[in-house]
Symmetry: C7
Subunit: 97 residues, 7 copies
């Protein structure tokens, strides 16, 4: 059974971050509190060619934490873990502390 996926073109493989339902001190977070739809970049494709054939690399790197769009993403199960594939230009931005 395949364990690793190398995305093609400008696709990236993301493992979604499940937002904590409690604070570190164990207090339940309200359902509607600011839950970001974010994830960690596991693997990236080589990028896509511009109209005149130059390769434009993907805009994020492995290990980045990224803000995901509300919709979209293709679910992929690898080694019983769930990932999602996105095109890099659907990713809204990179998240930093």
């Amino acid at each position: 059974m395949a364990k690793r996926l190398i995305p093609l073109f400008n696709r990236i493989l993301v493992e979604k971050i499940v937002p904590p339902s409690k604070t570190n001190a164990g207090i339940l977070l309200p359902e509607k509190s600011s839950k970001l739809n974010s994830g960690k970049v596991i693997a990236v494709g080589p990028g896509i060619h511009s109209k005149d054939g130059k390769l434009i690399p993907v805009a994020v790197n492995e290990g980045d934490t990224v803000l995901l769009p509300e919709y979209g993403g293709t679910e992929v199960k690898l080694d019983n873990k769930e990932y999602h594939l996105y095109r890099d230009d659907d990713i809204l931005g990179t998240l930093h502390d």
Copy 2:
């Protein structure tokens, strides 16, 4: 919890300016008075590549006050503050006193 977002491609992060409901002298402004849908640019992406691979930087800068389109914009909550993400070519212009 992520506190900072660096937009990707030609996206920009904007904090909307809430128009004052009263004048400085405390007089209530009529509901329909000229309320501009504007905001302050918090962060900008690197820009997008032209068809032949040249990077075209984003058209506004951090700190600019910008006139926003009537519709569009993706809401993003960071550190309990509300922001909006726009593509730079949806921004109508920069506002100046």
Copy 3:
């Protein structure tokens, strides 16, 4: 309150010319008489990039009198005055005496 708007990309800011309802001699002009939908260019954006990254400046200049399309244009109120934003390629032509 912002008083000045610098349009972005190939947008231009126009102040519509209200056609006179009477001739100079005070004679009422018929409703249907040739009323041009025109305006004065107040401010212009820098233009847009061609597919291979060259900046193509806007096709009109501040101060030009322009023939506006029948539809379109985004209304913008600045300093209690009404303006309209257009993309330069929607403008039909420049008017001259």
Copy 4:
């Protein structure tokens, strides 16, 4: 009141030719006889930029007699005369005796 219009981009200003209803000898021409939808070019725009920024001039010249498409054209009244604006690539061809 503006008397002259210089079209923008690849637009051209045309004055339609009203086909004669009688022959030179005064004989009434049948309604359906070959009436060409044609006009005279009054003014032309500078042309449009190709994808890589080169200016491609308009394909007709002032004074040309042109064959107009069955539909389209924006009506413009200047100095109480009626004209029509077309994009040059909608013009079918130039007419010659």
Copy 5:
């Protein structure tokens, strides 16, 4: 009255060939027999510009016999004769004995 039309861009002027209803020996041809929708090229436009401004000439020449598509073509009456205008990329091919 105009007698000649020079097409613009990549348009071509064609005079349709009416397929014979009888063989040379006078035998009536069946209605459904292989009737090609073909025509003779009367005049051609200069061609169109590629995205980067090079002029690409029209793909057929005056005098060619061409296979026409089943649909399309703009009817044009010149000097009481009927012609049709096509864009050259709608023409299927050139016919030869």
Copy 6:
């Protein structure tokens, strides 16, 4: 009556191969047995121009056996024989023993 057609642009002329209903030994082949929708290339066009004007030749050659798409193709009768015209980028591939 025209006997030969030279396709234009990236079109190719194909004569469909009628799959045998019996094996060489005369055994009737089941209706649903693997019948490929294929044909022989009779004539090819010159190809089409890329966006910047370079001619990109057609991807198949006269004499090739090609796998045809399930739909599409324009029927053409020449000299009482039936052919089909395709654009080369609709052809799925070339078939080999």
Copy 7:
């Protein structure tokens, strides 16, 4: 009967991998267990031309194991074996142990 297909343009020929219904030890796998829609690349086309005529080769190679999209793919029967044709930019990624 043709036995081999060489795809055209950026198409690739894939033989789907039928996921095992039992583990190596013979234990029945649950219906819904992580079954990847994958296949082995049998043959690849030459690639497609960029807008300015450069040939961009296909992104996968013969022998690669690839993750297939949920939908799409054209079924092709060759020598009584079933294959599927995809465009390379529909392929999600390459799978590795």
